[in-house]
Symmetry: C3
């Protein structure tokens, strides 16, 4: 139920990176971390934190509830909920938003849908999900397990994995590869910044890209 | 062509409720009111009003037009247009937005698509629809009937039904059940507010939920 | 690789028109110009310019890159990228945004997806695309050809065609029909403005529409 904690400065370094650089670093290391199609509710948010995972099942004859799970998470963590992409009932709403934000949770990523969207947005709490609805998951889904491997899109997420999310994408970095990905992502970000400086200084885009090896930044086996 | 009017204060009470509470009250009464997948054009809007309904058909050899129908609606009503989820041509645009707003219409809900999105947004007129397009429905669809039963998602909407919509969802409450749903929704909203107060006072979420019967708020047969 | 340039005042006249009027003019001339389902990243933007087109293919054994192509475009042009609706890897990001904006490009329309969405939005650069992602197209797609006929939705776009885009839609006007479409679109826009003036002056909507021939504005063969 627990996982190794990354040092706060590692998370802080990740949090400065756009998801595109983390994605490119995953590509370079052949890590399939990019999640297809989850959408941000809170425009402009960028979060990074370790995953606390939840797995839901459709409610069966034995019953069950959507559960209480926030005690599993620490400040800075990201709640990751796998409801199998189900879009007809929600697994997150206003009460969880307030309780999670009070606890300092970084944000929530849902393979499924959420409600109380306006309230969560006003509250400034970032959520990525498949879509929105108002129909509750209570009496429809049951919490099956916590801090087990789950799936976002086609991406496996293990407890403690690093979740980076912004307006473009949610990217999941396996915990065991976090430092490798971080180093490469920072290097790519630095090179992209050099290209941008060249462009701002009037250098031709093709020339600027060539100088800094743009076309192979994310290629496996290239420096 | 007409329907019973609810008292203005009933509508005002509904309008204070998030769609999630109305949805939970529908669940408690086994009313399938929640509409799947319509999206708000105007972020942050919350409306409530009685439905004036329109049904469209694809244009046939006999012709027809998209019709004039705003005279059917009164201030505070919600225009509900059933174009069968058709996303290749629109049934609402800028002129209807201005005319509807001038008349005090609360908003428009479309099982289909709309155009002049930016203009409607600037104008502050709330619309929920499947998507956006610019291709007109004129010469493509014909108004088939007004104030007849229509369908949003999988939800039947009869003339006069109460439509509640916000950033999360559109929910339709049958007119005959409006007072029952309203009472329960207000009760749920009040209990959720108590849970939020507890959380803000530092009470553990699980404890706060337990105190106020959170997991059965929407369950049929539970108090 | 080049195309006839429209006079700047022609583009300026197009740029004043909502996509719905351009769409209606296309309808009147039986031109299938309206593109289904591309979404704006930058709410409220309205652009108009001539298309510089790019065609991508999935990367094959022979390799290739996503290419450098901005030298093909002039200030005011619209970059149109056909990546066959592929949503699993991007063909536009932050560096292209900065370089394109520095060059005065009007905006970018993508039959596919883009990344660095937040950065492009903050930068004020308008992009229409199918969705968002962070996974790069580098090592996944290869630039196949520039300034060739491409496809957006079901619409053919030839180099130099006029692209009009706003919150509702992207519409493509064939270059050879640009002046015809412009004249009709301006006429429709003027008539819609008259209807709006009538409404604002208290005229009944049905009467205002009748006065100005609303229901046949876009009908082929009607004045």
């Amino acid at each position: 139920m627990s996982f190794d904690r990354l040092a706060p400065d590692v998370i802080a370094r990740f949090a400065k990176l756009p998801s595109s650089c983390v994605s490119d670093a995953c590509d370079k290391l052949a890590i399939p971390g990019q999640v297809d199609g989850l959408k941000p509710m809170l425009q402009g948010a960028r979060i990074c934190g370790q995953a606390v995972t939840l797995r839901y099942l459709p409610m069966g004859p034995a019953g069950g509830t959507v559960g209480d799970f926030l005690h599993l998470a620490e400040a800075g963590d990201v709640i990751v909920i796998d409801n199998r992409g189900r879009i007809d009932c929600t697994v997150w709403g206003n009460i969880l938003t307030e309780a999670a934000k009070a606890k300092g949770i970084a944000g929530t990523v849902i393979e499924g849908v959420n409600r109380d969207v306006g309230e969560s947005r006003e509250y400034g709490y970032p959520i990525w999900s498949r879509a929105n609805h108002s129909r509750t998951g209570k009496d429809r889904v049951a919490l099956d397990a916590t801090n087990v491997p789950v799936v976002l899109g086609h991406v496996r997420v293990d407890p403690g994995d690093v979740i980076c999310a912004d307006d473009s994408c949610v990217v999941c970095v396996p915990l065991s590869r976090a430092m490798d990905v971080l180093g490469i992502a920072e290097s790519i970000d630095a090179k992209e910044e050099l290209i941008l400086r060249d462009i701002r200084a009037g250098v031709d885009l093709a020339e600027a890209r060539k100088r800094h090896g743009y076309y192979a930044l994310q290629t496996p086996g290239k420096a």
